[in-house]
Every structure is written in C-alpha cells, then in structure tokens.
C-alpha cells in the first residue's frame, strides 16, 4: 500500500520517532509533575525537554507557553472558547476546517458570539488581507484562521494578518494543523496570539498529540479544569502556564514522540522536506493537468504559496468512488469533504467532495508516477459516465 494521506496523519513516522515511542513506554513510565521520586522526575525532565524543543521549533518565546493537547481540534476549542468567553465578534476565513467552524457555530448558537467570513483569494493574498480587514467590526475580538487549507493547500497571508491584528489590538488565533513542521511557522515573528498545531501531522508525533502555544500577554478562560499536580490545595485552576491548560495526566508517550519529531525536523530541515513534498505535488500536477476526465482544484504549483496537498476529481464519479478504486490499486488517499465543507463550498465540490493527494517525507517520485498512471487509467475506464 502506498500512502498519500499525510495531511490526515503522517505515516510512516521517522524511525527515531518510533524508537522514542517504544522507549517512552519502557523508560519514562512515571507521571510527570506529580511525584518526587526519581521515576516521575526523570519523566518530567523528558517532557520539559520536549516542551523546550517545540517552543524553539515554533518560535514560542517562553517554554511554559507551550501546552500539550490531544490534537489540534482540542487546542482550537480551548483557544477559541478561551478567548471568546466574554462574547464578541470573530472574523474567520472561507476555507476553515470544522475544528474552527464548529466551535464558532456552537458559540454563535449560544448567542454570545457572532462571526463573519472573509473570502480567501488564493492567487492574490493582498485581497484576502483586505477582506479580513473589511470584516473587522468595533466589537471584533479575534481573527481565527487556518495557516493553510487542508483541501486546496492555499496558504493565507499569516504575517500580514498578524500585523493587522496587532494594529487593531485583536487576538490572532492560527490553526497551523497543515503548517507546523512543513511551512515557516514562528509565533513571535508572525505575531500570533494563540498557535494551535497537530502533533501527528508534519510535526511527526503520534496520534493523540497537539500543541497550543499562548503568547505571554494573552489571557484565556479555561474550558477544562482538573488536576495539574500543582497548587493542589487551591480549588481554582492555576493561572500559570502550562498547567492552566494541561489538566489530567499527560500523554507522555505522545509528548516524547513530539520531542523525537522536533529533533528529526531540526536534523532534516523543514525547508528540505517542504521542497521534496511540494515537488511531488508539482510532479502529479504536471502528470494530471489537462488530461481528459481529470479536474484539478488549484493553479500551477508554486513554492511557498501552498501546503503540499493536491485536490482533484475524476469526472463521472464521486471522490469516494474514485478513492475506493485507488485503494484497490494500492494507493491510500482521502476523499470526501475532509471535515472542511467551507472549502468545498468555495470549490463547488459539496456534492462530490475531492480526492486529496498529500505526500510525505518518505514518498518517492516513482510512487507518484505510478499513482498518476492509476488515476489516468481509472479516468479512461470511466470516460463517458460524466
């Protein structure tokens, strides 16, 4: 089976990550930050090392401002609900994942929060920026947006949006699920207030991991309270980080996989991995572009303005049917709405969804060539059904 679904989760993981996972279960089995014995302290040291590595990788100014979460959705829920606890207005983009839209919708149903959608112009980021600025109201408290679309791969003008938020004195929450570990993410330089990441995608950790990094000047209400191993006599949730956002026992094995992932990315180089994966997208784009019965949903691939994902369809069938046939040919891709109906409304693919190709660091050009052949074969066999 050839795996091209890395936008869902990266697979296989680097060997060093797999080794860290098995090592964590054997050698770091204590509960970090809970006891004073050597096993607990040894585990806590390793978790601290992971926190420091992730802070360095993502440009987070203070180590304690990195909180580990279960996934990016968990981080986004804490961020959005934490910032909007007092109500207000939010601006978001037309390409958001449900991990942004559903919390916003739930908050709006409660009557506390309203939100506006800023249209993304994939080819003209200055238009995207202008659309965000036009949508800001006096009561706007935050901009929440994706760094890169998990459907189209389009990258939003994050640095410019950060500057806009700074100028307007509003909070900037970024969904970096498709960006952390593959695109240049730097919390401080991009003036991001709350950075939410998936640990199990390009950060190379295992599933069940995520990161929420909070800028030092940002106050978040909590959505989850509980045991933190600190200030236990106080019934109130701690006001200091990361404890405030890490209730309950941490996923130590997962966190240590994030440490190994961060170390892998530092050794290999994020830019090198990005160049490799994007070149495979460009290769597939070249193989499928203009071919009868195949429709692509992005402009020609350009370095820097998109994440390494490519959505397409085979005419005459839904994306799910096509993905099933591709599965039969030995290729793993995701099909459907990718939990991002917003993006599909923009693309006009709500009925069919799209097939999404997302290569990984270990994917090979020869595999992409075989995949392109399989797609063309399916398209040819089903020609006339459209």
């Amino acid at each position: 089976m050839i795996y091209f679904d890395n936008a869902a989760t990266t697979y296989p993981k680097p060997k060093s990550v797999l080794s860290a996972v098995s090592g964590a279960a054997v050698y770091y089995g204590g509960n970090p930050g809970r006891s004073g014995h050597r096993i607990s302290l040894k585990t806590a040291e390793k978790v601290y090392e992971a926190r420091r590595a992730v802070a360095e990788l993502l440009g987070v100014p203070q180590v304690e401002n990195v909180a580990f979460t279960l996934n990016c959705t968990h981080a986004l829920n804490m961020a959005i609900k934490g910032v909007m606890a007092g109500g207000g207005h939010v601006v978001t983009s037309s390409l958001e994942h449900n991990s942004v839209m559903r919390p916003l919708y739930a908050l709006s149903k409660s009557g506390k929060v309203t939100y506006s959608i800023a249209q993304v112009d994939e080819e003209r980021p200055f238009i995207t920026l202008a659309n965000f600025e036009k949508a800001i109201l006096p009561e706007t408290k935050a901009i929440v947006c994706t760094y890169a679309s998990n459907v189209t791969g389009a990258v939003l003008p994050i640095k410019e949006l950060g500057s806009l938020c700074k100028r307007k004195n509003i909070v900037f929450i970024v969904d970096a699920a498709q960006a952390a570990g593959i695109l240049p993410v730097h919390m401080e330089k991009q003036q991001i207030s709350v950075l939410c990441c998936a640990g199990h995608k390009s950060l190379m950790g295992v599933t069940g991991t995520g990161v929420m990094a909070v800028a030092p000047d940002i106050q978040l209400a909590t959505v989850l309270e509980g045991g933190t191993g600190s200030a236990s006599a106080d019934i109130a949730q701690p006001d200091f980080l990361p404890d405030r956002f890490e209730s309950g026992t941490a996923n130590t094995v997962g966190i240590l996989s994030l440490l190994a992932g961060a170390q892998f990315l530092k050794r290999r180089g994020i830019e090198e991995i990005y160049d490799h994966e994007l070149s495979l997208c460009a290769q597939l784009y070249g193989d499928l572009s203009g071919k009868e019965g195949i429709r692509l949903y992005c402009p020609p691939i350009r370095h820097g303005d998109r994440a390494p994902v490519l959505s397409f369809n085979i005419e005459g069938m839904t994306s799910m049917e096509a993905a099933e046939l591709l599965d039969g040919e030995g290729f793993a891709v995701r099909a459907g709405l990718h939990c991002a109906p917003s993006a599909h409304r923009v693309l006009g693919t709500m009925e069919t969804g799209t097939i999404r190709f997302s290569p990984g660091f270990s994917s090979k050009p020869a595999q992409v060539e075989m995949f392109a052949q399989a797609v063309k074969k399916i398209a040819k066999n089903h020609a006339g059904r459209a």
Partner: protein
C-alpha cells in the same frame, strides 16, 4: 539546613534550575516538603548561598517564585 526556593510547578522549577545553571549556579530539583507547601503540590530548588538573592534573580528573569524556606 536546606535552602529552598519554591516554584509553582515542575515546568517553572526546571526553567529556574536551567536559568541558575546558565548563571553558573547549581540547583537541585525536589518536591516541596509538605509542611512548606500551603498551596499544596509544588516543586523546589535546593540551592547553596543566599536563597533570597537567588529568588530575586529568578523573579527578575520572569520566573515566578512562590517563596523561599530554610529547613
């Protein structure tokens, strides 16, 4: 007698230890003795030298110290 600087969490304790180490000062991390932790669970750094001065150093470096003790 042990000179202790009390920090609110394991993360702050490790950050504080690393900061002191960067200043050439050794510190040993341990769980705050129960009789000292009026807020419940916390971690401390055992240090040699003037604990108040070292606590001020940490506070000046932006690391929250919840107290000092000698036991």
């Amino acid at each position: 007698m042990r000179q202790l600087i009390m920090l609110s969490s394991i993360t702050y304790a490790m950050k504080a230890r690393d900061y002191l180490m960067s200043q050439g000062i050794r510190a040993h991390l341990e769980r705050t003795p129960r009789e000292l932790g009026n807020l419940g669970c916390s971690y401390s750094l055992r240090v040699d030298g003037n604990k108040e001065r070292l606590a001020r150093m940490l506070s000046d470096a932006g690391i929250r110290v919840i107290g000092t003790a000698e036991i």
